[in-house]
Structures are given as structure tokens and as C-alpha cells.
């Protein structure tokens, strides 16, 4: 199975942008191709640092082991990174100019370092409001035991 190599991830969202699905081409209900990812301590800690969250549950293994969680975990919002880690470069979420209008997420169990993360996602709806092109997408992240980590929905305004 293909693995994510963070060093190879494409940072230029303009690359092959014209190949991504437009609002007209997005089919609600159709599954988006995804890539499973092994979540590492480094990925978790880089994310936590970027939001100024130095909670010892993400950084201090000895501390975390003594809590009911039994070991290091990721912050709930780790799905923000996993959304991009688990989708290929041609996924329409990367379209330059995609505006995030809203999100709703339910947290079931924490993600942990070493978890093999799998994303199942699709557009659920698309509509036009005040001449803006909206897509609602829904996402579920699973771990290697097929347990749900979190599930959520996003509202984006499409640039085309």
C-alpha cells in the first residue's frame, strides 16, 4: 500500500490544478480517493506546536502513561492535517482559493502515534447561495482496528 512521504508532499497547490474537479464535476455521494497514513509522534508534535498547544499528553510519554489515556495521543484537531495527509494532490480540497465556510466534528477516541489512519470521505451536497458555489463534504477517520477516531462535515466555497 502506498505510504505518505512528508518530504515528497506537493506544496505547490497550483501544480496540475486544472485536473482537479470543479463544482460542476463534483458528484455528491461519490467516494474521494484516499491514502492511508501512519501517524507519527513528529507529525502530532509539529501540529501541536503550530497551535501553541504543548499539552504533555502530546509530548511527555512518561506523564501520558500515568493518565487514564495510557500513552501519548494527538490533539482532537489533528484531523485538519490528516485531511491533507490522506488525500492525493489532485483532490479538489486543494484547489487554490477554496474558502472554508464552516466545519462540524465529532470526536470518538483519540488518535495516537503509530496509528494507521484511514479516511473515508465524499461530497455530500452541492448548492448555490448568493451566487457562491458551495460543497458540503463528509469525512470519517478510522484507525487500524477500524475504530472511528472522529467524523466531520465541512462547508466550502468553491473557486470554480
Amino acid at each position: 500500500m502506498e505510504e505518505l512521504d512528508l518530504k515528497k508532499i506537493e506544496k505547490d497547490f497550483w501544480k496540475n490544478w486544472e485536473k482537479r474537479k470543479t463544482w460542476d464535476e463534483i458528484r455528491p455521494g461519490e467516494l474521494r480517493p484516499t491514502i492511508p497514513v501512519t501517524l507519527t509522534k513528529e507529525m502530532i508534535q509539529k501540529y501541536a506546536r503550530a497551535i501553541g498547544d504543548l499539552n504533555p499528553l502530546y509530548f511527555d510519554e512518561e506523564y501520558a502513561k500515568k493518565t487514564p489515556l495510557g500513552g501519548l495521543i494527538a490533539p482532537p484537531s489533528i484531523h485538519v492535517m490528516l485531511m491533507f495527509a490522506c488525500t492525493p494532490n489532485d483532490d479538489w480540497m486543494r484547489e487554490p482559493g477554496t474558502i472554508n465556510a464552516g466545519q462540524s466534528w465529532f470526536y470518538n477516541i483519540p488518535a495516537r502515534p503509530g496509528d494507521r489512519i484511514r479516511l473515508v470521505c465524499k461530497a455530500l451536497d452541492r448548492f448555490i447561495k448568493k451566487e457562491r458555489l458551495f460543497v458540503i463534504h463528509e469525512n470519517v477517520f478510522y484507525n487500524q482496528n477500524d475504530e472511528v477516531i472522529c467524523s466531520g462535515r465541512g462547508w466550502t466555497i468553491r473557486p470554480r
Binding site: 503550530a50 482559493g97 465556510a101 464552516g102
Partner: protein, 146 residues
């Protein structure tokens, strides 16, 4: 411990999260950490000329998901030491956040209730900038296992 804490929570109680100052550097760091390299957040030239429907931002904007993550940080900071679990967050982005802004997350307890198998606290969520302008709002839910 969790049960007592739940009992003492009152409707209207305010939880203030730690503020965060947003700069080009924090936006870049969030892009690297979240893998969201949309030019909205990084490309000044693109943002100077790009028209988003009726809106022009004229400069790069912070990721909405930074605000989202600051809200979850506020929730976990407050909940975990007391045995509470951050179960849900729903947010809407109302205004852009720019480099130079400082954002202040806040949660206000709106309801407490028990279900057959759980104890729940609902919150109204606000994120305001340094001018007290509401940039995001939403709702959160926490569980206190008995």
C-alpha cells in the same frame, strides 16, 4: 472527580482560552504542520488581485482551521484536568483573520444535561479579534463520564 466538577458547572459560566497572535510566520508554520498550502494563506500577489465573488481580501488570510484548533485547545485545556472529554465542535467563519491580528477564543456554558448513559455540557463558542469583532462562532459539546 469528574462528577463533582460536572455538578459545579453553571449555565452562563465563561471559559476563556489563551489568545494567539497571528503573523506571516505563524500562518506559514500552520501550513507546514497542517499540510494546507493553499495560496490563500501564503501568496501575497495572488491575494492582492484575486476576487472571491464579492469579496477581496487583498492580503493573505490565516487558516480558518487555526481558529478551530485554538478552540479545541481551549476545550482540552479546561476539560482534561477535570475528567471531561471534548466531544464535538461546530464552527462558522464569519470574518477573515490577517497577519497582525490577535484572536481570543471563548466558550460560554449554554446547557447541562444527563442522558441515559452520559453527562453533557453544551457551549456557545466565540472567537474575537483584538477589535472585539466576532471572527468565528459555533457550538461545542463535552462529556463527563460518570
Amino acid at each position: 472527580m469528574g462528577t463533582n466538577f460536572f455538578g459545579e458547572i453553571t449555565v452562563g459560566q465563561v471559559i476563556e482560552g489563551r489568545p494567539m497572535g497571528i503573523t506571516r510566520e505563524t500562518i506559514r508554520e500552520f501550513a507546514e504542520a497542517s499540510l494546507d498550502f493553499n495560496p490563500l494563506h501564503l501568496d501575497s500577489e495572488y491575494m492582492a488581485k484575486q476576487d472571491f465573488g464579492k469579496t477581496m481580501f487583498k492580503q493573505v488570510i490565516a487558516h480558518g482551521m487555526t481558529n478551530f484548533s485554538l478552540i479545541t485547545r481551549m476545550m482540552t485545556d479546561w476539560l482534561w484536568p477535570h475528567g471531561g472529554i471534548h466531544r464535538r465542535l461546530e464552527t462558522r467563519w464569519l470574518k477573515p483573520v490577517y497577519s497582525g491580528d490577535t484572536v481570543y477564543p471563548k466558550a460560554i456554558v449554554s446547557k447541562k444535561l444527563k442522558t441515559e448513559k452520559g453527562q453533557w455540557v453544551l457551549f456557545n463558542i466565540e472567537v474575537r479579534n483584538q477589535e472585539d469583532i466576532l471572527v468565528s462562532n459555533g457550538e461545542a459539546m463535552a462529556e463527563f463520564p460518570e
